[in-house]
């Protein structure tokens, strides 16, 4: 089933193929918000499903959360069930800085990233002494107490306690942003154009603008993390995960890299928290409890632990699968009514199916298909004779 012959890595053909891939990606990412600014809700087999921009933006924040979790758990193999703690801390830090000090959302990253990094490193120190399920249990306990910490009497005034915090800042698109103009152009395209509204309402404009901000933050996070993981540090983390004895014998400082991986993991998780705060303009204690911790692990596994694309698939999965499954009110194609918590059940079923069908997660499956259809032959380093 080879559609094209293998191209040499780094060759002109390969570059061209990559560029085409990126252009297509950019087009999809840029156009989608306009297509779903007005929530798209098709009826499929008798059920009405929604595909809205709000859900997509939330999924993008979750992708970044999973990206962070992936560093500690997927790459360096330390089971962290407490990632929601970092996400929640990032979100609350942003909320407090915006409300009390009138910072802009994005500038809070200047505190969130270093703050959460230090926090993650501290968190990683006890993790040096325990491994596997015990580490899972310890981190899970940390995740579980987050909502109670937020409700503590001592800090309740700051954090809003059980009521959460409404963030007093709107993200209004700058006047130069041609959102309305682009919508007009798209509307004018025959066929597809009918899906796009004639113009955007104020709220829709704001949602589209937020989406683009979140996409940019996410792209920067993925780029930075990819750079770290593609080289020496990434290899050291995987070496620790797959064989500690071999890693240490080859000069990898286990303690330093494990704590480093928790630090980076937490910092990226904190950014995801900032993104969630930006997205909803609200933070509440129960959003960041252990159910989020578990959901992130599910996303990591469904998408593919130890791969970057897995975080993208995982974020989409944990956002959309529960929504769509709760919208499945009758058995598809029949009148038989479904009642009860089907969302979680379907997510659970999906997890089981993925574990059996694609042990490496969805990303692994995509990768296999891609290497079949568009094989790339890795090349020896340029200075070599062979």
């Amino acid at each position: 089933m080879r559609a094209m012959g293998a191209v040499a890595a780094g060759s002109r053909q390969h570059r061209r193929r990559q560029i085409i891939g990126w252009v297509l990606f950019a087009l999809v990412v840029a156009l989608i918000p306009f297509l779903i600014a007005e929530t798209y809700s098709p009826t499929i087999f008798g059920n009405r499903y929604t595909f809205g921009l709000g859900n997509l933006s939330q999924a993008i924040a979750l992708m970044v959360a999973i990206l962070g979790l992936n560093i500690a758990t997927g790459y360096s193999g330390q089971l962290s069930l407490g990632h929601s703690f970092f996400v929640g801390s990032g979100a609350y830090l942003t909320a407090v800085l915006v409300n009390e000090f009138h910072w802009s959302y994005l500038s809070t990253l200047g505190v969130v990233v270093p703050g959460l990094f230090v926090f993650g490193v501290l968190f990683g120190i006890p993790a040096l002494r325990i491994q596997g399920l015990y580490l899972g249990l310890l981190t899970f306990a940390v995740a579980a107490v987050f909502p109670s910490i937020i409700r503590l009497d001592e800090i309740k005034d700051r954090t809003g306690g059980s009521n959460g915090l409404l963030i007093e800042s709107d993200l209004e698109p700058p006047t130069w942003a041609p959102l309305d103009t682009v919508t007009g152009w798209l509307h004018a395209i025959p066929g597809v154009g009918s899906r796009v509204p004639d113009g955007l309402t104020g709220r829709q404009e704001e949602a589209v603008y937020k989406y683009f901000l979140l996409v940019i933050v996410a792209l920067v996070c993925f780029w930075l993390v990819r750079n770290i993981l593609a080289g020496r540090v990434g290899r050291a983390l995987v070496a620790i995960r797959d064989n500690q004895l071999g890693a240490a014998a080859n000069g990898v400082n286990l303690a330093a890299y494990k704590t480093l991986s928790f630090g980076i993991s937490a910092a990226v998780g904190g950014v995801a928290g900032t993104m969630l705060a930006m997205h909803s303009g609200f933070v509440g204690p129960d959003e960041f409890g252990f159910s989020m911790a578990i959901l992130l692990i599910v996303g990591l596994i469904v998408g593919g632990a130890g791969t970057l694309h897995g975080a993208v698939v995982g974020g989409l999965a944990i956002q959309f699968v529960p929504v769509w499954s709760s919208q499945t009110q009758t058995l598809p194609g029949t009148d038989v009514a479904l009642e009860g918590p089907y969302g979680t059940a379907i997510l659970g079923g999906l997890l089981i199916a993925i574990i059996f069908a694609l042990p490496g997660g969805a990303a692994q499956g995509f990768r296999r298909i891609k290497s079949q259809l568009m094989p790339v032959a890795p090349q020896p380093p340029t200075g070599s004779t062979g």
Partner: protein, 253 residues
């Protein structure tokens, strides 16, 4: 000149004494064989030198420096490389990536510089080149981009050798490198090891059950039995030592 100096090392695991007051030295530039029946403590000694196991008593010096005061991850940087009896590779990484990790201590780009691509491209290219050269030297380029999982045991043993070589060791400890090889392959491996030792000015500490090979390449052989040294000397001396004959005959009965 003495490169590795083991003095009075004792290692106990609960009731088992894996090494008993073991002392011997390895001269720079020599090939030293370390033999003994199964369970004699050979691998345990490697693990003491690479700081995986703690010695209850004794000292180990490398070029006069106290090895036991160093953490495990500092050992390769001091110039000691090793291969493992049962392999310690990373199955998910390609052979090339496995070998690149061998040069970890010789590279320095950390997370921050890597994130910002500040010099990481250049270092990565030079690591890849180093790894490729080692793969060429060991005729492994055909499997360079193959994941380490799924390759034959003998090939993986050579991958470990390549990984150890790129760390530019001065002392290379090999734990049963000939396992799973045919008679002719063992002969080739012996020649290869001697050639590598010369080309890279290596000192070798060789654990091997294949007597023909050990006796053929070693300048000196140390024999262990139940954790204690029972003989030490040139291959000829050791082969005729009654205690050694006894230990091996005893082990075979």
């Amino acid at each position: 000149m003495v490169l590795l100096d083991v003095t009075g090392v004792t290692v106990r695991f609960g009731g088992v004494t894996a090494l008993r007051d073991l002392s011997f030295t390895v001269d720079e530039g020599s090939i030293c064989g370390l033999i003994g029946p199964n369970g004699a403590g050979k691998t345990t000694l490697f693990n003491v030198v690479s700081r995986v196991y703690d010695a209850q008593e004794g000292a180990v010096a490398f070029e006069g420096a106290d090895l036991l005061a160093r953490p495990a991850h500092a050992i390769s940087g001091l110039g000691i490389g090793r291969t493992f009896q049962n392999l310690a590779l990373w199955p998910g990484m390609t052979v090339m990536q496995n070998v690149m990790v061998g040069a970890h201590h010789r590279s320095s780009i950390g997370a921050l510089r890597a994130a910002l691509r500040w010099g990481s491209g250049r270092e990565e290219a030079s690591l890849a080149q180093t790894a490729w050269d080692a793969l060429e030297e060991l005729s492994l380029t055909d499997v360079a981009f193959h994941p380490a999982a799924g390759l034959p045991f003998g090939t993986l043993k050579r991958v470990e050798l390549a990984r150890a070589l790129v760390s530019r060791p001065r002392l290379l400890m090999l734990d049963e490198p000939a396992t799973g090889l045919t008679q002719t392959e063992v002969g080739e491996l012996a020649d290869l090891l001697v050639a590598l030792a010369q080309r890279h000015s290596l000192t070798l500490l060789l654990v091997e059950h294949h007597m023909g090979m050990v006796m053929g390449v070693s300048d000196k052989v140390v024999v262990l039995d139940f954790g204690a040294k029972i003989a030490e000397g040139s291959p000829a001396e050791v082969q005729n030592d009654p205690a050694v004959v006894e230990a091996y005959l005893g082990a075979e009965q």
